[in-house]
């Protein structure tokens, strides 16, 4: 029987990072990530881990320092939220295109403005095309587990891409939950020692890092990033399965709840999936054959697996905790509907929870009823429905 600790999501992630023994961490504080780095810095100060912590003057510098450190051959992480990620933007892309396996807990928070410190996914979604792997977590346990897996995924020679571990600000980051931790030695063994093929500090094998990539070259390097993302599907799944053998908690690209005979299916990310499981049960009691498809990997986006998982659904609702202005529905909706291209089932957009607005079981159960009606009517095009908005 696993031993459980009462930890916030931030503390759980900090413990996971400590156990992975990073060589270097460079970070700048921003709510709700601050507590994570606070905890990690405490571990360093108390001699629990010998990571070199670089205190920088901004998130742009944090990611820049992480890039330098990773290129030098060090296992490196940083962490951020919302506007911190936005300030990093330029170098977020550079980390991915230079193929550096940096790991970054991204504690989801709404982007300003108006200024807000609470959860939504607008920050992560803004850099969905940056070339980072993005894995979403449902709770503190998943944040802990995913941080550990992230190093293995990123550092795999077939991948060599940075990984963002996305977990909901405050809802996960600041809420105490039971978290089963692995022993330090078990994590150390699972993650292994980072041995990069090439490192700038290897003076015997010099190379040029970050040179100008003119029109004759740039396109080929982008194609290599496409290949790395394609390779990452298999790596995420195999690392998740291996982690399952170690911990009893296997991971894949997605996870279903009561999907076996589900006709009305909701697709969602993050902590809302916990609420949605209860809502599925409620909707089932009300006579709706409801199911939940929790997506873990948003990048890479598992089109084939998603299509397979939704093949029996008569209607699909997509819950976005972020918004794309000028088009109906959010980024998750567009990816899901695109994945189901050619299918006959209606795919319906919902936007909820912006700026940390609560989402409740009864609201999701109501969405299931709406979906069932839409499914019967067969209406394919429908404007986005806002859940929890004062209308």
């Amino acid at each position: 029987m696993a031993k459980f600790e009462s930890l916030t999501g931030n503390d759980a992630a900090a413990h996971a990072l400590r156990q992975c023994k990073p060589d270097v961490a460079a970070a700048y504080p921003i709510t709700p990530q601050t507590e994570l780095m606070h905890k990690f810095a405490e571990f360093v100060a108390n001699g629990k881990v010998d990571t070199e912590v670089i205190l920088v003057e901004s998130e742009h510098s944090a990611m820049s320092a992480a890039i330098g450190s990773s290129a030098a051959g060090a296992r490196t992480f940083t962490a951020t939220s919302a506007n911190g990620l936005a300030l990093m933007w330029e170098v977020v892309y550079i980390a991915a295109s230079n193929r550096l396996p940096i790991v970054m807990p991204e504690v989801n928070r709404a982007l300003s403005g108006p200024i807000n410190i609470h959860c939504d996914h607008s920050d992560s979604m803004g850099c969905r095309d940056s070339g980072w792997i993005q894995l979403f977590c449902e709770n503190g346990q998943e944040a802990y587990d995913t941080v550990i897996q992230a190093f293995r995924i990123s550092e795999n020679p077939k991948v060599l891409l940075p990984t963002m571990i996305c977990f909901d600000g405050f809802i996960i980051s600041h809420t105490n939950e039971p978290v089963a931790m692995l022993k330090d030695e078990a994590v150390s063994q699972f993650v292994g020692v980072y041995k990069p093929d090439r490192a700038l500090l290897d003076v015997e094998n010099p190379y040029t890092f970050g040179p100008l990539d003119l029109p004759e070259w740039y396109f080929e390097h982008k194609r290599q990033q496409v290949e790395a993302m394609r390779n990452s599907f298999e790596v995420i799944e195999s690392v998740g399965a291996e982690f399952g053998k170690l911990s009893g908690r296997p991971y894949g690209l997605m996870d279903g709840y009561r999907m076996e005979d589900a006709e009305v299916v909701l697709v969602a990310l993050g902590s809302t999936c916990g609420t949605a499981r209860v809502a599925v049960d409620v909707a089932r009691e009300q006579g709706v054959k409801a199911g939940l498809l929790k997506l873990r990997a948003f990048r890479p986006f598992p089109i084939k697996q998603l299509r397979q998982a939704l093949s029996k659904a008569k209607v699909v609702g997509v819950f976005d905790r972020s918004i794309s202005f000028g088009i109906e529905g959010g980024p998750l909706f567009h990816e899901v509907r695109s994945s189901l291209y050619g299918g006959k089932q209606p795919v319906i957009p919902f936007v909820y929870g912006l700026g940390g607005r609560d989402i409740r079981v009864e609201q999701i159960a109501e969405a299931f009823k709406t979906l069932q009606q839409v499914g019967k009517s067969g209406a394919m095009d429908r404007d986005v429905e806002f859940i929890g908005l004062r209308d």
Partner: protein, 100 residues
């Protein structure tokens, strides 16, 4: 284009996978102005050799022997650093040189 490596053959991450490769790169096409060195005027003070950011001033045994036009980008620092009374280096428009 056909001689260049395809995406499978290229080193990942946009790196140049070996050291010392800047020597192979011909940057003469970057030049708008070409420095012309006059051996008669030159007093071999080596200021141009010290200041050239691309190590394109060639010298041997304390004397300027010429300019490496494959690596000279035409910035004009050599001409600016050449003592005013000497002016052994003058900058000429590449387009005018080609007309000659």
């Amino acid at each position: 284009m056909s001689k260049l490596p395809n995406w499978r053959e290229l080193a990942t991450g946009g790196i140049v996978p070996k050291g010392g490769n800047s020597d192979e790169k011909d940057v003469s096409g970057w030049r708008t102005y070409r420095p012309i060195h006059d051996k008669q005027k030159c007093i071999n003070c080596l200021r141009c050799w010290i200041f050239c950011p691309d190590s394109a001033i060639q010298a041997k045994d304390g004397k300027i022997t010429g300019i490496d036009y494959k690596h000279c980008k035409g910035c004009g620092i050599c001409a600016a650093e050449c003592p005013k009374k000497v002016t052994a280096i003058t900058m000429k428009l590449e387009s005018e040189i080609k007309k000659d």
